[in-house]
Subunit: 376 residues, 4 copies
């Protein structure tokens, strides 16, 4: 494949991030195929046309079906609200398109499985937008773990906490409605840290027990603020997990965690050292090595730099910083190079996306039934 | 009571901290009774005599029974290894002495209950050495919560992690032996953060489910390093808990958490704000208030100072710092003033100590049986 | 002007950053003119052609003179080594081109003055690449100061420290040679923090006294490592300054400051509060307001977000992070919109660049003559 | 000397800290002489009697002359307001007493010199209360430097900033009156960081140039708030210094630095590494070593522990924290052991105190005359 021709569906929050990443990707990275921004869909032709101009796409349409069936589109990039992922992905797959979907892959594991199996059967490549693992800093954490620098991982603690619904007066939005969002903070936020835990520990999660709570049980109706509506899914959740190799883990998530703006974090304890990270300081990693001189032990703050994965493509000096969209740019690089090379595999793909959905559903079930639930 | 005459049993690690606190208490605080360091017991008369001189005690003995029955002792201070707490406390209570015991109160909840009930029946006062809640900074956290500054508490995350057994070559010591220590890191470390969670949330823990692991399953025999011995209790544990009012909580503990030297920490999320603290920076508290101007929101780092509880007695300038032994000095002040005033209640007392033991046992049981366990 | 047609000269470290910023600018921001990447010059036609392809420029040349005289170029972007800034800028100005030059504007104030005056006389617009002031976080600091939130500024402490020459075995490079670099760390690094101090304090620096040192007096000859060459300019420097309104300031800079990867930082003390910042955590600002409740005073860590200047164009969620190149993208936005609007002024322009050069020269002179030197 | 019998004069802020330190010293440390709290003076016999009881002193008096001439006093501990240091010290010396004086030694270098020379001539030992250098953490910094771990020191940046006079409505107090305080923030605060710079760099300061400002020029008269009085000395000051070996240094001090509660800090850059410290986190030191693997470089946060100087006497576990008074306790240990051993030298003594006064005066002079001033 000499060109990767993209069809983008959806241009909201995350669609716009994709667009920024597409714009800079070929300047930042030496891509193995030419990236062509071919077709863009939005809910009206007018909005689609405007966004196509803004994002540099060749053509636009008010009908996403046009994109998934277009002969000049190689990969369909799904940035729509979550509840549409399944339908669009299946249509794209049916047309033999590769699919790049935002997370969560689907509203539940059942749907995710259908999507994963359809893609597998069709032989198309898939990628799910778990962009935080593309951050050079988290790639560095992965490298440190893989090289055995902290020994064998014995504990993973991870969070994805935000406070976008902390205010009880914030009206009900689609995140709070099962039909639109499926799970609450588990699907919206925890999907990231759970997937990241598997990436970093290098093991799948095999059993879980969760606890969760809808703290703010009603919110104002956005169409009539004097009326209250029920919040249909969880505001916060915790899960204890075990990875396939027996490693213990704890996952916490909340959308009402006052003060957390990008509270994705992890502390990974190994037999020889510990790594600590928070996404709010996305260009630094804390590393402790227990074999250091006991009188000089301590957590070291490593500023991400050109000696760490992918960073040098953004800047050749350490500590100069990377931003949110830069992670997405690494993801686009992976997409393009993965499609350019017939034998390459994209990661994290729909199989991983399905696994994450399965874990999320198991956490919800385990919380409801107050028991450990095995995965798969 | 015009005098509080102390009989100290045990002068190791924590006994020495008590001694330092006794030494400075009457200079730091205006005590409501005269503190008299009367009698000290150690395992030999010689060691006892030496320590009595070093710590400023009037008399000494190689037999702790002398102390618990001495007519000139008002309160028996138990700083022995954990497995002796019960026997000494019961003997002291039988002699009508008030008892000040280090934590954990006993090796299991059953023993703790016997001790608590004996003290209650005898009408003596009791105090357990959960000194971290006496830190002015944590008292400030309590004050902030009680005043409603962060709203209703909806989540408590707490840890007590250390790394004193992180090295697998460290020989087996008494912490690893059930008969001497009872539980592992749960009893040694988690006791603190669990008690602190009840103190800060202002609610008892009512149900728990734990998970735990003995990561390093064997250690060298301290008497013959070429032989390996089994480690008999857990190296790390996690528990999800629910407080009486339904508030969710997560507790984590480890004695093999590389890099944690005093890893007692908490993050307390409320409906209106969040508090964050780590004992490794024991004189600062992070506070977030969600009602701040959205463009000026953020966690504020408050340096403990004279406007916060008890601090001014150590220093009248903010940010000048307090140390580990200063917490113990506050505890001694509570002890002396609580004994000086007939109607005063000491806190945390044996009842609280028993409650903590009951929670610890429930966590261990829940981990073993892989199910939620209700408390009490 | 409906289009801004750029001629880029130089594609090294900073030229590449410009290219990334050009690539994403029109997606990130609603630009007021179309940005056209027209012409690119490098030292050979081959390299120029390769870079033009990589950076998306229409045409290329091995001769920078072609760019400055090309009728289809509106603005010449100078990313060459410092010693070429003057010649290229003057040639561009002579051809009536607007000029966007990297810092430092020139090797000394005399040259900078010639450049500034030439541009003024020719009526072309100019911009100097002091990109760190374009960071939304530093713009937020400016906003806080301008609104009087920290009262009147009474002290500015700023640093720009790095460690790229900390190792004495690093061979001599052009930074160490007067003819190529002019000043040492003052010109290379301090230029940024001095310009930033004027931006943030809102006052020009009016008198200075500096001290400086070439700590590593000789370095290996890069062409023959067995030979040593003299380092011709300063490794570290400090200056005390006074702003026009009498406000005190201190500037420190070093290129051998072990551990500083992007050690641009400032602490700005006002009569009512204090701001603290380090570029190594470029998306957070610390703010202290003295009128807070004395028992709740402390530095607040503000994560930059959509309520702060320019951030929302990168991401609509707070705390998600911005990177080095994002600053440059804001600079490009300023360039394009400033050129699109005939009456707009670019900032910081050659006049500001000249002022900074004049201050740098005064610091060097004051250090040599060991006396205060007045500016202008 | 088998006993060290102390005569304490003054029981305000710092006198109380001495008392706390005296109380715990013999429990914390194995002292080489018995510490006897013999005599205490305050401004009235009543206050003296009350404080003697509170602090555990044997006798008391309302007349400090009684203390300096008492045959049962070995060392006179001066905790009075600064302007009395000279008179009391000279009287004590005249009576052959050793003298332990709080800083600053005197209101100016001339007085300090008289005191130093009198002590030298009389052959008595002296100690000045620069207690921050007794902190185990700063002792660790000294150890790291002395062992060459950061190579040769090439730059010292130090601050002592507080905000106790930041509010312009705070009435004039003795700190602002030349006759009572001498210098302003230089004498009150900078004395500490300047002395610490000499201790840590291991070199005397040899030349200085300062700048300073009385930012709040008038304050309410404390006796009639409707009247304003002139502030007679500086609110903030900066100095560039050179140590005897040529090492550059910068000192900053302020008593109006909003947000700084205990803003004593240092950053010490060496040819092989860097140390960074702030007294507000008095139990942690940041250390960077440039020879670390470049991909794993970073500042390490070392928590002070039993492997570092003096810490183990307070607690045998790392990271458990030390407080302000613990520093003073180390100072008392140095006093007692230094007096117990006839050949021992106390440090920092009146000679060092005089040197610091001389540096402070030189900074003030250099600021006034706007020129570098050599020391000694």
């Amino acid at each position: 494949m000499k060109k990767v021709r993209v069809g983008l569906i959806g241009t909201g929050y995350i669609g716009r991030c994709h667009a920024i990443a597409y714009a800079q990707a070929s300047t930042v990275f030496p891509l193995e195929a030419e990236l062509q921004l071919e077709y863009l869909a939005e809910i009206t032709p007018e909005l689609a046309a405007q966004k196509a101009k803004e994002f540099g796409f060749n053509r636009s349409t008010g009908n996403w079906q046009d994109v998934v069936s277009d002969p000049n589109v190689d990969v369909v990039d799904i940035c729509t609200p979550n509840f549409l992922h399944k339908e669009i992905a299946l249509a794209a797959i049916a047309n033999g398109k590769h699919v790049y979907s935002e997370k969560p892959l689907a509203l539940n594991a059942e749907d995710a499985k259908i999507m994963y199996e359809a893609a597998k059967k069709a032989g198309v490549k898939t990628l799910v937008g778990f962009n935080y693992i593309k951050n050079p800093t988290t790639q560095l954490a992965k490298e440190i773990i893989e090289r055995g620098e902290i020994g064998e991982v014995v504990h993973f603690y991870g969070t994805h906490n935000e406070d976008y619904l902390a205010n009880p007066n914030t009206p009900l939005d689609w995140h709070c409605v099962k039909e639109k969002a499926g799970l609450g903070t588990l699907g919206d936020l925890a999907a990231h840290i759970i997937q990241m835990s598997q990436y970093l520990v290098g093991q799948d999660i095999k059993s879980v027990i969760g606890d969760m709570e809808t703290v703010i049980k009603q919110r104002p109706n956005p169409n009539d603020l004097s009326q209250m509506c029920d919040v249909e899914n969880e505001d916060q959740a915790t899960a204890m997990v075990r990875f396939a190799n027996g490693c213990m883990g704890t996952i916490e998530t909340s959308r009402i965690a006052c003060g957390r703006k990008m509270g994705l974090s992890y502390v990974i304890t190994g037999t020889k050292g510990t790594i600590s990270y928070t996404q709010e300081r996305m260009a630094e990693l804390k590393l402790y090595i227990h074999s250091d001189d006991p009188a000089r032990q301590g957590f070291k703050t490593i500023l991400t730099g050109p000696l760490h994965p992918d960073y040098k493509h953004f800047c050749v000096s350490a500590g100069h910083g990377i931003g949110f969209n830069d992670q997405k740019t690494v993801e686009i690089r992976d997409l393009v190079n993965g499609l350019a090379n017939p034998t390459a595999k994209l990661y994290p793909d729909f199989e991983e996306g399905f696994k994450i959905s399965r874990i999320l559903d198991a956490i919800a079930l385990s919380a409801q039934e107050k028991r450990w639930v095995d995965i798969g």
